[in-house]
Amino acid sequence: MLKTFRGGVHPNDMKAPTANKKIVELDPSQEMVYPMTQHIGAPAKPIVKVGDFVYAGQKIAEAGGFVSACIHATVSGTVKAIEKRMHPNGLFVESIVIDDDGQDSIYPELRGCEDYTKLSKDELVNIIKEAGIVGLGGATFPTHVKLSPPSEANIDYVIVNAAECEPYLTSDYREMLESPEQVIGGLKILMHMFNLKDGYVGIEDNKEVAIETMTAIAAKEKNLDIHIKTLKTKYPQGGEKQLINAITGRKVGPGQLPWQVGAIVCNVDTCRAIFQAVRRGLPVMTRIVTTGGDCVNNPGNYKVRVGMKLRDIIEQTGGFSKQPSKVIMGGPMMGMAISSLDVPAVKGTSGLMAFGEEHAYGADETACLRCGKCVYVCPMNLLPNRLDEAARADNYDALEKLNINDCIECGSCAYSCPSKRRQVQQIKVAKVKLREAQQRNK
C-alpha cells in the first residue's frame, strides 16, 4: 500500500515536457533586484548603501526579526538604488537594486565546514540563518525558525518533502536526479541536529527514477537509516500536514505546528541549500525554476539567480511562442498569477508558467449542486461549499465556526467542482476580511 492522506485530487501532472530536461544555468540580469520580503515574517533590513560595492554571496540585508531571513547579493557589482520596486505579488516593496559588474567575484569570507558533526545544533542553526535559507518549495517560511522548536519538543521524524505534487513542476525532481548527494547531505545535517539515526524522504510514485536514484544514494549510508518512502501520486501530497500524515500517520491538529507531533519537514531544494550552506558556506543564491505552459518555446529546468528578472528567464530560454494572457509564478494549483514580467525571481520562485488566452479565464460559475465533491476532496475535512456560501455573505461567525483558518488553500475544492465555483478563492479573500474584522473589533 502506498502511503497517502485522505482527500485530494488527481490533476494531470503535466511533467513529461520537462522531466527529462537537464538543469541549465542562466546568466544573471544586468540589473538585479532583491525585494526585502522574500519570506514569511518581518521584512529584511538593508545593510548596504547606494554606491557600495558588493560581492556575490555577500549579505546585503539583515533579518528583520526572529521570524525573518537575511538576503544576499547573487552577483558582484554596485548598489544602484534602494527603493520600492514591484514584487511578484504585485505590491511595491523596498528592494535593493544591484548593477551586475559581470565579474562574479565571490565574497572571500564564505567558509564551508567539512566536518559538520563537530558543530552543535545552535551553531548549525546559526549557519542556516546566516545563509538566508527559507522553505524553497514555495512557502518561504524561514528554515532556522522551523529548526528551533522549543526545548520540550521531541523530534523523531525529519522528512524531506520530495512529493512535488504541483502539476508541471519538475525542479525538485531534477535536483534529485542531478545532485542527490547534496539533498541527502542536507538531510544528514538535519538528522545530526536532532540526533536521529532515521531520516525520511517522501516521493510520489510517478517519479520512479528519482526514487531509484535516491534509494541508491541512501543505501550508501551505513550508519544511518534513510528511508525513501513512495507516496501515492495525489495532490496535495506535498502539503506539509498531508506529508506528515502519509509518512508518520500523525495529524498536525488545528493551530499546531509540525514539531508538536515530532516532525520537521524540509523541501528538496531547502535540503540542498542547507548542504551548500554548511559544507560550502554558500548562502541562498540560486534556485531551480521550471518553465512551462503553452506559451513558452523551451519548457525546461533552469538554474536561476535570485534577483534575476523573470523577463530575462523567458528571453534567455527562447522566448514566448505566443503572447501569454496569464503568467504564473509557481505551479498552476497554488502559484501566483503575476501582473508583470518585470519583477525578480525570489527565493520561492519554483516555476514560471505562461498560458494563452484560452487558459487565462476560468469557466463561468453556476449554482452549487450540493454534490459534495469539494467535501470529499478537502484534505483538511472542511466544508468548502459552506465556507464559499459564508464567504460570499460576509458571514464571519459562520466562517469561524466552519474553521476557515484550517484551510491550507490547496484548491482541491475549486479543482473538483463541476459547477466551476471558486471556493478556495472566496476563502482566501474571506480570511483577510475576517482578520480585518477581528482587528476592528479589538
Binding site: 490533476p11 504585485g90 502539476p167 500536514k241 495529524k251 498536525v252 491538529g253 488545528p254 499546531q256 503572447q323 501569454p324 494572457s325 496569464k326 503568467v327 504564473i328 509557481g330 498552476p332 494549483m333 497554488m334 502559484g335 501566483m336 498569477a337 503575476i338 501582473s339 508583470s340 508558467m353 498560458f355 487558459h359 487565462a360 479565464y361 476560468g362 469557466a363 453556476t366 449554482a367 452549487c368 449542486l369 450540493r370 454534490c371 459534495g372 465533491k373 467535501v375 470529499y376 484534505p379 483538511m380 475535512n381 472542511l382 466544508l383 488553500e409 484548491g411 475549486a414 479543482y415 473538483s416 467542482c417 463541476p418 459547477s419 466551476k420 471558486r422 478556495v424 478563492q425 482566501k428
Partner: protein, 333 residues
C-alpha cells in the same frame, strides 16, 4: 508593450467535471432501464418518456425565457428529471397528465425554489406524489408485462397487480407472485423504469464507476430494506420476510441508485449519506409493512429530502487532527 496579464487567485486549472457531463452520465445510466421498460411495456413507454422529457425541457426553457434568466437547458438536468418522472409512472398514464407532472416538477418544485441546486425535494418524485394524490386511479393502473396498451383510451386495459401488491395481498390485487428471475430482468408489472433490476444495476454501476455517485446511499438503503423486510414483512411472523423479493420488487432499486442519490436533495457529508440511506430504508419498510400502500420508496426519499439540511448540519466531518477530547472541550466552550 505587453498585453495586460490576467491576475487571479489560484488554482489556475480546474478538473474536467462539469454539470453537463454529470447529467449526461445520469442520462446514459438511465438508458438500460428505458430499454427494459420499452421491452416490457411496449412502445408507449418510449412515448411517455419522450413526452415527459420534452415537456420538462420546454418548461425549463420557458421559465428562463420569461424571467430573462441565463439559459439553463444546456445543463441537461431537465432531461434527467423528465426521464425519472416518466420512469415513475405506469405505462397507461394519459399523456396530458405527464405534461402536468412535468410542469409540477420543473416549475413548482425546481424553479420556484431557485432552479438547479436549490430545490429541497426531488422534482420527479414530488411530481409523482402530486399526480398520485390528484389522479390516484390513473397512477395505479398497472398492466401485466407485454400487454398491448391502446394509445389513447388507456383506462380500458386489463389491469394486473404489481409484484409488491401481490405479495402484500392487497385487496383487489389479482395476479401471481412472480419469480426472482422475472423480477431481476423486469418481466413484471409496475412503473415504466422500475421493473428491471438488471437494467438499473447496469446504470448504477456505470454511475459509481464514473464517480458520479457514491455507493453509500444505495448500499445502506438496500441493506436496510432487506433487513427490515426480512424481519417484519413475512406472513409467518418475525424473520420470515422475503428480503430478496422486497428489494427487487417495486421502486426501491430505481430509487436507491437514481433518486436517493440526487445531489441537491441528499446529504453531502459521508456520514450523512449513510444516515440518509438508512432513513430511507426504515421509512420504506414502515410504509410497506404497516402502511396501507404496498410501495413506499418515493415517500421515504421525499421525507428524507426534507431532513437533509439537518443531517448535513449534524454530520460535518471531524476537524482535521482535532482529538475527540478537544472537540468535546470546544463544544462546551
Amino acid at each position: 508593450m505587453d498585453n495586460l496579464l490576467v491576475v487571479s487567485h489560484s488554482p489556475h486549472i480546474t478538473g474536467n467535471d462539469t454539470v453537463r457531463r454529470t447529467m449526461l452520465d445520469v442520462c446514459i445510466a438511465l438508458i438500460p432501464a428505458l430499454i427494459a421498460g420499452t421491452w416490457v411495456f411496449g412502445y408507449r413507454a418510449l412515448v411517455v418518456t419522450a413526452v415527459s422529457v420534452i415537456a420538462c425541457v420546454l418548461f425549463e426553457w420557458l421559465w428562463g425565457k420569461i424571467l430573462k434568466k441565463p439559459a439553463s437547458v444546456g445543463d441537461l438536468s431537465a432531461i434527467v428529471t423528465g426521464m425519472l418522472l416518466a420512469f415513475n409512472m405506469p405505462v397507461t398514464i394519459p399523456l396530458w397528465m405527464v405534461v402536468i407532472g412535468a410542469f409540477f416538477a420543473i416549475i413548482i418544485v425546481k424553479q420556484f425554489f431557485g432552479g438547479i441546486g436549490h430545490n429541497f425535494m426531488n422534482p420527479a418524485l414530488a411530481a409523482r406524489a402530486f399526480l398520485l394524490a390528484s389522479w390516484a386511479l390513473a397512477m395505479t393502473t398497472w398492466v401485466a408485462p407485454h400487454t398491448s396498451v391502446p394509445f389513447w383510451n388507456t383506462a380500458d386495459v386489463v389491469t394486473s397487480a404489481t409484484p409488491l401488491a401481490a405479495y402484500a395481498g392487497t385487496e383487489g390485487a389479482v395476479g401471481e407472485i412472480p419469480g426472482y428471475f422475472d423480477l431481476f430482468i423486469g418481466n413484471v408489472g409496475g412503473c415504466i423504469g422500475e421493473t428491471s433490476v438488471l437494467a438499473i444495476l447496469i446504470g448504477g454501476i456505470y454511475l459509481i464507476a464514473r464517480r458520479v455517485i457514491r455507493i453509500r446511499i444505495p448500499l445502506t438503503y438496500l441493506l436496510t430494506v432487506a433487513l427490515g423486510t426480512w424481519m417484519f414483512a413475512g406472513h409467518d411472523g418475525l424473520f420470515t420476510g422475503d428480503a430478496l423479493y422486497q428489494v427487487m420488487a417495486g421502486g426501491v432499486m430505481l430509487g436507491a441508485f437514481f433518486m436517493a442519490t440526487d445531489y441537491t436533495t441528499t446529504p453531502y457529508t459521508p456520514v450523512g449519506q449513510i444516515i440518509f440511506g438508512i432513513g430511507c430504508g426504515v421509512i420504506t419498510v414502515l410504509i410497506r409493512v404497516w402502511g396501507g400502500y404496498p410501495e413506499g420508496c418515493s415517500y421515504s426519499i421525499l421525507l428524507m429530502n426534507i431532513v437533509t439540511p439537518l443531517i448535513d448540519r449534524i454530520t460535518a466531518p471531524n476537524r482535521y487532527g482535532a482529538s475527540k477530547a478537544k472537540k468535546r472541550k470546544e463544544a462546551q466552550a
